[in-house]
């Protein structure tokens, strides 16, 4: 879920840019190092970025209404970590604005912060917790994708609430209203995306486990099914 072009007032648009830029810069440094070590990673990163784009442009058949779609950034966080995912998400968000009229340029900072930084970071944290607790791979991936989705939509609601606080009740009332309305589509969507991404991982482990091994996902002693 993205904030459309023109919706955020100038101050907030600029603030979210300022908050997102350091993370993107760190992600660029990491990508440069990763690609320097193993330049075969560049095409792989590109495929993952394109995958995030395509996944988010395909509407889930079982979810009706609204511009809801999976974000795919949870999977990116598992594969590459949150900083690199934020760079991929930034490129994907620019393409979504230019190819699908989804999102915008002045709201890019806010959208990168919610979909590219807050979502993957929350998802990655859950993933690490699951790994430490030795939860099965599919459950961990399900939790990662679902949490990344929910964190993204809660961040978007916060961004809208901060920019447009309610006259009575202020930011809190505004946040509860936005989060409450968007929950109607976003919570079922998060669960479906979690299921989908978990099944995708199971499918990929079954067919080409070596792919994930090269990405060091399986190296953390995840029991392959």
């Amino acid at each position: 879920m993205h904030i459309m072009e023109g919706f955020l007032p100038p101050f907030w648009a600029a603030l979210w840019f300022a908050l997102a830029l350091p993370v993107i810069a760190y992600g660029v440094v990491r990508i440069r190092r990763l690609v320097g070590e193993d330049r075969e990673l560049l095409p792989l990163l590109a495929v993952s970025g394109a995958f995030i784009f395509v996944l988010s442009s395909l509407k889930l058949p079982s979810v009706t209404g609204s511009s809801s779609h999976p974000t795919g950034t949870g999977a990116g966080a598992v594969l590459f970590g949150p900083a690199v995912t934020s760079v991929l998400a930034t490129i994907v968000l620019v393409y979504q604005a230019l190819f699908l009229a989804h999102g915008g340029f002045t709201t890019l900072g806010a959208n990168v912060f919610s979909m590219g930084i807050a979502g993957p970071a929350a998802g990655y944290a859950i993933y690490r917790i699951c790994m430490r607790a030795r939860v099965g791979c599919c459950t961990a991936v399900f939790a990662t994708a679902a949490v990344a989705d929910i964190a993204t939509y809660l961040t978007t609601s916060t961004q809208l609430a901060l920019a447009f606080p309610a006259t009575t009740g202020g930011v809190t009332a505004s946040f509860l209203t936005f989060a409450g309305i968007f929950a109607l589509t976003q919570v079922p969507l998060a669960i479906v995306e979690g299921l989908v991404i978990a099944l995708v991982f199971r499918y990929m482990i079954a067919i080409r486990g070596d792919v994930l091994e090269r990405l060091h996902v399986l190296r953390r002693e995840v029991p392959a099914p």
């Binding site: 072009e5 023109g6 889930l60 393409y95 190819f99 009229a101 006259t167 989908v196 990929m204």
Partner: protein, 261 residues
């Protein structure tokens, strides 16, 4: 599958021989004006300028344009309706009870809601102007010149390429699945969709491997060549852009914030 990507019409619009930097600059300028404009009237003018540039000057079919403009409408209408309810100020125009919660529509709330709709409309019209007239491929050189690191420009170019590879793959798999009634029931749909996503990722991974091989065979040294800036900046195009931008800038500066009629 790719018919709804705006990229398609960006390759065949009437403004394709105008410098991409100029089109990007004008589009971003209009977006900033839309953010800064205090008056609803100025927002309407920016919206009309964006539509005029895209449908009139670039000759994008109006039916297609309207369909794309409807994409953000859902988000904008829902969010603006919430703003109307959340913001109170001035005279109460209407009020009703919804599940024991009193909901009032006031002058101030209505003004904010309508201004938000107009502002987003103006911003989207400017965004669509860039999206529908400027092919992405001509923006990579601009991005590099603006200081985007080369590794990121390379990554963006490869992502661009793989988007079309993946969309083709996904369309093929989706056709095959649909013809076998894979999306009949919700449970089956989730399963089928994950198989589609998994298969598409693996096949794209494979073609990425092949791409590395092909690039190696052509002496890839970690840098992709950028297309040079074409078409060049022309004086009459700059004058045309200024003729659109300057009057709008003046309108934004002199038109005071005011209530809606």
């Amino acid at each position: 599958m790719d018919h709804h990507l705006l990229e398609g019409c960006a390759h065949q619009n009437a403004l394709r021989d105008v410098s991409p930097q100029l089109k990007l600059g004008l589009g971003l300028g209009l977006m900033l004006l839309a953010l800064a404009a205090p008056a609803p009237g100025a927002l309407v003018l920016i919206f009309l300028a964006g539509v005029g540039l895209t449908v009139g000057a670039a000759r994008i079919p109006s039916g297609f344009y309207l369909r794309i403009l409807a994409v953000p409408a859902g988000f904008v209408l829902v969010s603006s309706a919430l703003l109307v309810i959340l913001t109170q100020g001035g005279t109460v125009l209407a009020s009703f009870d919804l599940a024991s919660v009193r909901i009032a529509v006031t002058q101030g709330g209505l003004e904010l809601g309508i201004t938000q709709i107009l502002r987003t409309g103006a911003g989207m019209a400017a965004l669509l102007f860039v999206a529908m007239t400027t092919p992405m491929i001509s923006l990579f050189a601009t991005a590099a010149r603006l200081g985007v690191p080369i590794v990121i420009v390379d990554l963006a170019m490869l992502i661009y390429r793989f988007i079309f590879v993946l969309l083709d793959e996904a369309a093929t798999v989706l056709d095959a699945q649909t013809s076998r009634l894979a999306y009949g029931r919700p449970r089956g749909a989730v399963r089928a969709f994950s198989m589609l996503a998994g298969a598409v990722f693996l096949r794209a991974w494979q073609s990425a491997d092949e791409l590395v091989l092909a690039m190696d065979a052509r002496c890839y040294d970690g840098r992709l060549e950028l297309e040079t800036d074409r078409p060049p900046l022309r004086a009459r195009h700059v004058l045309g852009a200024a003729a659109v931008f300057v009057p709008l800038l003046v309108a934004v500066l002199v038109w005071p914030a005011g209530g809606l009629p």
